[in-house]
């Protein structure tokens, strides 16, 4: 299909990339301040304890230490949380994990701050510790939070599950497990702050949601909105971790009391200790299928460890429950996902919010069902795949943009070739080749809750356009895409759109950069604002050109008569006229997806307005002698609705596949043991398969130019495909991620391959 747009669908040069290749000082740690104080948090010595007393006197006597703050120094409310507010900025009466900050030292140098932190004397009364969710759920278990240790149990019920199991032709029941994962963005959390000439507390943050940060900081400080200004600095990756506050609250507190510039740059070790992790899951799944391979019933019980604080736990449990069916139409479901508090450092948002963990389960189940029914793994997915008109587990009928089958089509020839030819061509008698599939669906936006975005577009007297958006670009390229959307609407190139991004003085809330929502939701808000501006320009142009609006087109800064392009007027002329007459060239846009909240008992509802779909195929080589796995090739077909910037989409797909390879094979965060990047392995270039990205465009009518999203979908099918491929290679399945050297070798031995020719 030929691209009918002039910038949408084109891989234009990324905005902001020039700074990055030049090494411009745009990240928080790069920003130079006038003699800044250095901050350092004192963190809990025990995973669970009452906080009895904090003695800061010794610390204050250390040369260079300027102040030591505790909870008592927080002027406003000492409570934060991105969904439920259960997390103090500084511990007040108890500590719930080793990451909990207990005091904050401000000093002239990093060394003095470290010495100061070491000199703070804290008295604790230890409480019983629980690291395992089952322990925390046991009757009589000590309460980590007053409300108890169950954060949420999300339930979804439809149909008659018992009857359906009775009638099922084949039943597969298994338990799956995943580990905590560290986001390992390359830029350790950092922030700087200073007090502006007019008294504003200005904080530059490495963040995914500057407006949320702003709200929390003004609440901690008990000050008016205008007193605090959050500016999102260039953010070196985040993947969900920088949704929670990292240093913004600390900087705000220090600025409030000391009125001097401050700086807090985490070491990698502190980032590992103190920031959120991906929830580890234990998933019991019982699937029943009929004789044709149609999955007719699904029972799922999942428990995820949300650690000491809620963070995004409610969203993770909800999304996991909804996505537990996989991209398949299943008539009878009984799903429950519990998020449980424990004394491990808190878990939160991490690319996929529970969907990657669920996908391990539902995609393994599909393959197991296929084997039991002697069906081809591709065929069983076709038989069950959601289509237009399908009804989901929450009772939502999806009517448009359901590209799952098209993704299967995309992968199909590669799958055939791999199965017919590639699999048999192992390079060594000790290497077994396997091919696996992974399917996924992913609801765009927050689960069944409002999560609107706003945007503002302005044209000046000279016809120059500025787009204001609170949408944080964390490397995924939203700034460019939003400029393209505005540009397309105005007939301008993305270059011609001046962007003001993530500055709470000038931008309005676009919601968090999470849930793969920005292209769809902020994109629509931007389109909304731009449409309004265009309407004003066209109205003025009608006056000037005396042509009906429907014949007018915009291009290159001109409005012209489509039938007679020489009849035209430029933006500057129009802008001047509008402004001189007292008209408005500054327009707000708004968009909130069309959703219906989930019923708390049955889970019935329409949690998302649109879903992304994908299928990936992984080709692996398993070394039956050592347990090493090499992923040779991944074919990744993704229905994104419309690729506004195709290379950006490919970039997300490749990045997601890399993260999936890590999730599948080598990443495992063990609190207390995993301390630095020496202990935690993300894939290097040498670990990467050849990736063949296939972009499927099943347009979403409610999306900007048909677009949905891809950020998280990119990662979700990869680990399941790899696990299925390993099972195919060995004839023995792994149910616990990562499929580490140890687990794979064990499977090789169990399957009888080890050391056999």
């Amino acid at each position: 299909m030929k691209n009918q747009y002039h910038t949408v669908g084109k891989s234009v040069r990324r905005k902001g990339a020039l700074d990055k290749v030049k090494g411009a000082p745009v990240f928080c740690a790069d920003l130079e301040l006038d003699d800044p104080l250095c901050l350092k948090a004192v963190r809990s010595r025990y995973p669970h304890a009452l906080l009895k007393h904090i003695d800061v006197s010794k610390a204050l006597n250390i040369k260079g230490v300027v102040a030591v703050f505790t909870a008592a120094d927080i002027p406003g409310k000492n409570l934060m949380g991105i969904i439920n507010k259960d997390q103090p900025l500084l511990a007040a009466d108890k500590v719930r994990s080793l990451a909990d900050p207990v005091a904050l030292v401000a000093a002239e140098t990093d060394e003095a701050a470290a010495l100061g932190a070491a000199a703070v004397i804290v008295t604790y009364e230890e409480l019983p510790v629980m690291f395992d969710p089952q322990e925390a759920l046991a009757p009589g278990a000590p309460k980590i939070h007053k409300k108890g240790n169950l954060l949420i149990k999300r339930k979804i019920q439809k149909g008659d599950v018992d009857k359906a199991f009775d009638n099922a032709h084949v039943i597969i029941e298994k338990t799956y497990q995943t580990s905590a994962i560290e986001h390992t963005f390359l830029e350790p959390d950092a922030g700087v702050g200073y007090v502006d000439d007019d008294g504003t507390l200005v904080i530059h943050a490495s963040t995914q949601n500057p407006h949320y940060d702003h709200k929390e900081v003004v609440t901690f400080l008990g000050v008016a909105d205008e007193t605090v200004r959050i500016i999102q600095a260039a953010t070196g990756g985040a993947f969900g971790s920088k949704l929670d506050l990292n240093v913004q609250g600390f900087i705000g507190l220090a600025l409030y009391h000391l009125k001097r510039p401050v700086r807090y740059v985490f070491t990698r070790e502190e980032s590992f200790l103190a920031t959120s992790k991906r929830h580890p899951f234990v998933i019991h799944m019982k699937s029943g299928a009929d004789i044709h391979g149609r999955v007719v019933v699904l029972k799922m019980r999942a428990v995820c460890n949300t650690g000491a604080y809620g963070s995004y736990g409610i969203a993770v449990a909800s999304r996991a429950a909804v996505h537990g069916t996989g991209p398949y139409e299943i008539d009878n479901v009984d799903m429950a996902c519990s998020a449980v508090y424990t004394n491990t450092p808190f878990c939160g948002a991490m690319r996929g919010f529970g969907a990657p963990q669920m996908a391990l389960a539902h995609e393994s189940q599909m393959d197991l069902l296929a084997t039991a029914l002697d069906m081809d793994p591709l065929t069983i997915r076709r038989v069950n795949g959601l289509k237009k008109g399908s009804i989901t587990g929450t009772g939502q009928t999806i009517t448009d943009s359901v590209g799952f089958n098209a993704c299967l089509d995309g992968v199909s020839p590669y799958y055939k070739e791999a199965m017919d030819t590639w699999v048999a061509g192992s390079p060594s008698p000790f290497i077994k080749r396997g091919v696996g599939l992974g399917g996924m669906w992913y609801g765009i936006g927050n689960t069944g809750v409002q999560n609107p975005s706003t945007a503002k577009i302005e044209m000046d007297r000279k016809g120059r356009v500025t787009l204001f958006t609170g949408c944080a670009d964390i490397g995924q390229g939203s700034t460019t895409v939003l400029a393209q959307i505005a540009g397309e609407t105005l007939g301008l190139s993305a270059d011609a759109i001046e962007m003001v991004v993530g500055d709470t003085r000038y931008t309005t809330n676009a919601g968090a950069t999470s849930a793969s929502r920005q292209t769809y939701i902020s994109g629509n808000a931007v389109k909304d604002a731009t449409d309004k501006l265009v309407n004003v320009l066209l109205t003025e142009a009608v006056n000037r050109l005396r042509v009906q609006k429907s014949y007018l087109k915009l291009s290159g800064g001109w409005v012209f008569d489509d039938r007679n392009p020489d009849k035209k007027v430029d933006f500057a002329w129009l802008a001047q006229r509008v402004l001189d007459r007292g008209g408005v060239l500054s327009w707000q846009g708004f968009f909130d997806p069309d959703t219906v909240p989930l019923d708390p008992e049955t889970g019935e509802g329409a949690p998302y307005a649109t879903y992304a779909f994908a299928c990936q195929m992984a080709c692996v080589e398993v070394d039956t002698l050592t347990g090493e796995v090499a992923v040779k090739k991944v074919v990744a077909a993704h229905d994104v609705g419309k690729a506004i910037h195709p290379e950006n989409v490919i970039g997300q797909i490749c990045g997601g596949v890399a993260m999936g390879v890590g999730f599948a094979l080598m990443e495992e965060f063990v609190p207390g043991k995993t301390e630095s990047m020496k202990d935690y392995h993300i894939p290097t270039m040498k670990d990467m398969p050849e990736i063949i990205p296939l972009i499927v465009e099943d347009a979403e009518p409610s999306g900007p130019f048909g677009a949905k999203g891809v950020g998280e979908p990119a990662l979700i099918p990869t680990a399941p495909a790899i696990v299925n491929a390993i099972a195919h290679a060995l004839g023995e399945r792994i149910y616990h991620l990562p499929a580490s050297l140890e687990r794979v070798l064990e499977a090789s031995i169990k399957a009888g391959h080890f050391n056999k020719l």
């Binding site: 060394e111 010495l115 008698p429 000790f430 070394d623 039956t624 002698l625 050592t626 347990g627 090493e628 090499a630 094979l665 080598m666 020496k678 392995h681 894939p683 290097t684 270039m685 040498k686 670990d687 580490s740 050297l741 140890e742 070798l745 031995i749 080890f754 050391n755 020719l757």
Partner: protein, 287 residues
């Protein structure tokens, strides 16, 4: 935080003399890749940094009557690109291909890798199979320490504060078969979970006439596995014989380490990697 003093030695004699009086307080800086990590963490906390990274005397690679001499200050990149090492100590050249990362190889030295005495040091198995002697200088002169004596325990070298490794003397050998392989959790920038170095020669009938084998990252200190070597010597390697040799290797390893938690993986894996690295010999000897 107490800061350090910096001394740059201009000659080997200067370095040795300095260490004789200040050795207890001194960190020797050759490449610095291990030193920096330990200084940053506070694990290494001494007053003086003695920089020997520019001593030409420590940078030579040459064949003399003594053998293949590799200066302690030779970097992993220099090992990687040295035609002499590729010819006379191919397993050592091989280990430099997968050592850490390019950035680290460019400054990390073989002397540093040995002195750090990490059980996972990748240069060590190849040095062991070449029966390398570390030439160590101190104020009393020079002495030679063999590779299995140089580490007294994991991360503990037997070197005294006044000692400085000058060079390694390897028994050079052009062989028909040589390899170094490792198992890591990923394909680059990975600490070896297990490593092996081997070299072998065959006679006209295809029987092994020479074999040296060393296991790395599995024992606290380096070991040449004579039991495995003598089992395979003088015979044609077959899949069956390699299986048996692998079992011997696993037994030897467990004898040394005891049954720790990692044994569940390492006991089979050591046999697996052994088979993988040596299996090509089967075809090579059958020719």
């Amino acid at each position: 935080m107490a800061d350090m003093k910096y001394v740059r030695a201009e000659t080997l004699e200067e370095a040795v003399a300095f260490l004789s009086t200040h050795g207890l307080q001194t960190i020797i800086l050759a490449g610095g890749t291990d030193v920096m990590v330990d200084v940053r963490s506070g694990e290494l906390n001494k007053k003086i940094l003695l920089d020997v990274s520019r001593l030409a005397a420590l940078k030579k690679i040459e064949i003399t009557d003594e053998g293949l001499c590799i200066g302690s200050g030779v970097t992993l990149t220099e090992i990687n690109t040295s035609p002499l090492i590729k010819k006379h100590a191919p397993a050592l050249q091989r280990c430099s291909c997968t050592f850490a990362s390019r950035q680290i190889r460019n400054i990390a030295t073989v002397g540093g890798n040995v002195a750090h005495a990490s059980p996972c040091g990748d240069t060590i198995p190849p040095l062991v199979i070449h029966e390398a002697q570390a030439v160590v200088a101190n104020q009393d002169g020079q002495r030679e320490i063999s590779m299995d004596a140089i580490a007294s325990g994991a991360y503990h070298s037997c070197l005294a504060p006044g000692d400085l490794i000058v060079k390694f003397i390897l028994k050079p050998r052009k062989v028909g078969f040589a390899d170094f392989q490792k198992i890591g959790r990923r394909k680059a920038l990975a600490v070896s979970r297990m490593s092996m170095a081997v070299m072998a020669d065959k006679d006209e009938t295809g029987n092994l006439s020479f074999i040296r084998f060393s296991l790395g990252a599995c024992t606290p200190t380096p070991h040449r596995m004579d039991a495995v070597e003598s089992f395979l010597m003088g015979q044609k390697p077959t899949h069956e014989r390699l299986l048996q040799a692998g079992e011997i290797l696993a037994e030897k390893m467990v004898e040394i380490t005891g049954r720790r938690a990692s044994i569940i993986y390492k006991e089979p894996a050591v046999q697996g990697l052994f088979m993988r690295i040596l299996y090509p010999m089967v075809e090579w000897c059958a020719q």
